[in-house]
């Protein structure tokens, strides 16, 4: 029982960065922008957050720095994709390649350094038997992720601003004709997404690992992108997907711990294999995707060009 609680706790822990990043990406995709640079934003945020937390001994400052780094990366993307109307796929790829290079460059002197484990858990609640260990003995960012999910559900479906955001994603021409500043809304959505990816990246380097190795994010940015498709762009399903992927990641360590004779390299493939399987299952029916996908996703919009 004690082990099972630890397993749940570990799954939540490893699902959290996916949750936060995918929620951010969901927002910019709902606004019609496809940013494949998530991996790059997370990498730069991870090393920035790590470096700041390492130098100042203040982990929370690492999160702030990570969020800012993510927003700066998102601004770079926005300038190209929104102002210069470049191809969003290519620009996102460029952001990922640039982020990988920049993080490796900044991080070279931090390779192998680690951070002390920070405070954990909610007082009192974490003393409840079983549930306390499974649910309430986590870093604050985990609960932030849950709040974020609730907040986004409210924003998208219950607030006027959320309605405008969805309108921009479904039909930028109509939103523009009604007088909504499409580019500005998309930029704000990208900024929010950058901040989320940044917090997720900082979580990886400051709390989850907590050390720096090159390529620390290890494809989680891409998995988060896959999660938005898996969730058919709905926040509640993102939460479900993140927990699912979190447990797949933990399963590999669990298999190793109970001594199943599969080489560790093969077990490490599990999250990537799971991503492919999930994509296949969800995309099998093209109509299902078409119905749910924001209609203008990935299509550039330039006011006054039509």
């Amino acid at each position: 029982m004690e082990n099972f609680a630890a397993l749940i706790a570990a799954s939540i822990n490893s699902g959290t960065p996916l949750l936060i990043a995918a929620l951010g990406l969901l927002i910019n995709e709902r606004a019609g922008v496809l940013n494949l640079g998530a991996e790059g934003m997370m990498l730069v945020a991870a090393i920035t957050g790590f470096a700041i937390a390492h130098q100042t001994h203040m982990p929370w400052l690492g999160f702030v720095a990570g969020a800012i780094a993510g927003m700066l990366m998102a601004t770079l993307f926005a300038w190209l994709a929104l102002v210069l109307v470049t191809n969003q796929v290519a620009t996102g790829l460029a952001l990922s390649i640039f982020g990988a290079g920049l993080s490796a460059f900044i991080g070279q002197s931090f390779v192998g350094q680690s951070l002390p484990a920070g405070p954990h858990g909610i007082p009192l609640l974490s003393d409840i038997p079983f549930l306390g260990k499974a649910l309430f003995d986590q870093h604050m960012a985990v609960y932030f992720g849950l709040l974020l999910c609730g907040g986004i559900i409210w924003f998208l479906y219950r607030s006027r601003a959320g309605l405008v955001l969805r309108a921009v994603g479904e039909s930028p021409e109509s939103a523009h004709a009604l007088g909504y500043p499409v580019r500005k809304i998309r930029y704000l959505a990208l900024l929010f997404s950058g901040a989320c990816c940044g917090i997720a990246g900082a979580y990886l380097s400051v709390v989850y690992t907590p050390m720096w190795v090159e390529g620390l994010v290890a494809g989680r940015g891409w998995i988060a992108l896959a999660l938005t498709t898996f969730a058919t762009w709905r926040p509640a399903r993102v939460l479900l997907g993140a927990l699912l992927f979190g447990s797949v990641t933990i399963l590999q360590f669990h298999f190793q711990a109970i001594g199943i004779a599969i080489p560790s390299e093969i077990l490490s493939m599990l999250p990537y294999l799971a991503t492919i399987i999930v994509l296949v299952l969800i995309s099998r029916n093209p109509d299902w995707i078409r119905l749910n996908m924001p209609a203008s996703l990935g299509k550039p919009f330039r006011p006054g060009s039509a």
């Binding site: 290519a90 390649i97 920049l102 296949v280 995707i289």
Partner: protein, 355 residues
């Protein structure tokens, strides 16, 4: 204020000028970067861009690294022409390298068997098949299940890297290697022949040049290549003309995987000479930039390959001469791609001064 104004027709000359402009801007921002790092910008640029090509031996190294970059980019160009976003060339390269390395290790037992040339030919074929098979997974899942090829090809890259790690820790590990995760060093018969003595430049370079020529014919002079390009530029027109988008998907991914696999085979049987846990410093990803710089033109990719190869050597030089992290290569790569995308805006728009 500067404003973008849509051109009546996209500018052909700008399409060729844009990579040059992007490269010049990259050099300019590179100088700023060296300055920000407290180095003399001119010394920095000299070390990064000139030092690597000062001698004949250095130029041979440049061409050596150009080979895998161009091979991968040749296939990627075909994919991007067909609007198939394969970004998993790195994984296809690893799969090819692994297949080729296993083939060589199978024959390289110390007992007389097939001739070295024969084994190398087999290994190269194994590389091509391995890379193409790896890419065919992406094609199959896209074709059959509509799964996004960007994410699938990238996930397969992580899986290929783990498979390589498994291989060098398991079946391919050198039994006399003091438990290091690597295969034994191939005997010299089973290494690609060098073009000149005293340099590592191997016969794969010639193969790459021939391949570029053949691909130029395929893209610009064959009906199959024409069908691919039309499918990418105007999917509806292609459908009306009866060009199958499924065939375009499979053709482009198989070509791309094959070339990337060949690049992997040449790396393993060439400069590396054994199977290591890492057989590529990201050539498959850099090749994406090579393809764009080369304007998706097979001959153009050679120029793109030279530039990106220079960046790799420049990074090593910057580390040894200036004490900067060699990861500076990745920074230059990213800057170049960003600036290229920005400059490409000028193909369809012109800048106008507006009060």
């Amino acid at each position: 204020m500067l404003k973008l104004e849509l051109r009546a027709a996209s500018s052909r000359s700008m399409a060729y000028l844009s990579p040059v402009l992007a490269l010049l801007l990259t050099i300019f921002f590179g100088a700023l970067l060296f300055m920000a790092l407290g180095k003399n910008p001119l010394t920095g640029l000299q070390v990064f861009l000139i030092e690597p090509i000062r001698s004949k031996a250095a130029i041979a190294e440049l061409l050596l690294k150009t080979t895998p970059l161009v091979l991968c980019a040749l296939g990627l160009s075909v994919c991007y022409r067909a609007n198939v976003w394969n970004i998993g060339a790195e994984g296809q390269l690893i799969a090819g390298g692994l297949a080729a390395g296993s083939t060589i290790l199978f024959f390289d037992t110390g007992t007389p068997g097939l001739s070295g040339g024969m084994v190398l030919l087999l290994a190269s074929c194994a590389g091509v098949v391995g890379g193409a098979l790896w890419a065919s997974i992406t094609a199959l899942l896209r074709d059959r299940f509509n799964a996004n090829e960007i994410l699938v090809s990238l996930m397969l890259t992580y899986i290929a890297q783990l498979l390589l790690m498994y291989a060098v820790n398991g079946p391919l590990k050198d039994p006399n290697g003091m438990n290091f995760p690597q295969s034994k060093v191939f005997s010299s018969d089973y290494l690609l022949p060098h073009l000149f003595s005293g340099s590592r430049l191997h016969i794969g370079f010639i193969v790459m040049l021939v391949a570029s020529g053949l691909m130029a014919v395929f893209v610009y002079r064959s009906f199959a290549g024409y069908r691919l390009t039309v499918g990418g530029l105007a999917p509806l027109a292609a459908r009306y003309a009866g060009f199958s988008s499924r065939r375009a998907l499979w053709t482009s991914l198989l070509i791309s995987g094959g070339f990337a696999g060949m690049a992997g085979a040449f790396e393993v049987a060439g400069p590396i000479g054994q199977v290591l846990p890492s057989i590529s410093p990201g050539y498959g990803f850099a090749a994406i930039i090579v393809a764009f710089i080369g304007r998706l033109n097979p001959i153009g990719t050679i120029f793109g390959g030279l530039v990106l190869s220079l960046f790799y050597l420049g990074g090593e030089m910057a580390q040894s001469r200036l004490g900067l992290p060699s990861a500076i290569t990745g920074l230059f790569q990213g800057m170049l791609l960003f600036l290229l995308l920005a400059c490409d805006t000028l193909i369809n728009y012109r800048l106008r001064w507006q009060k």
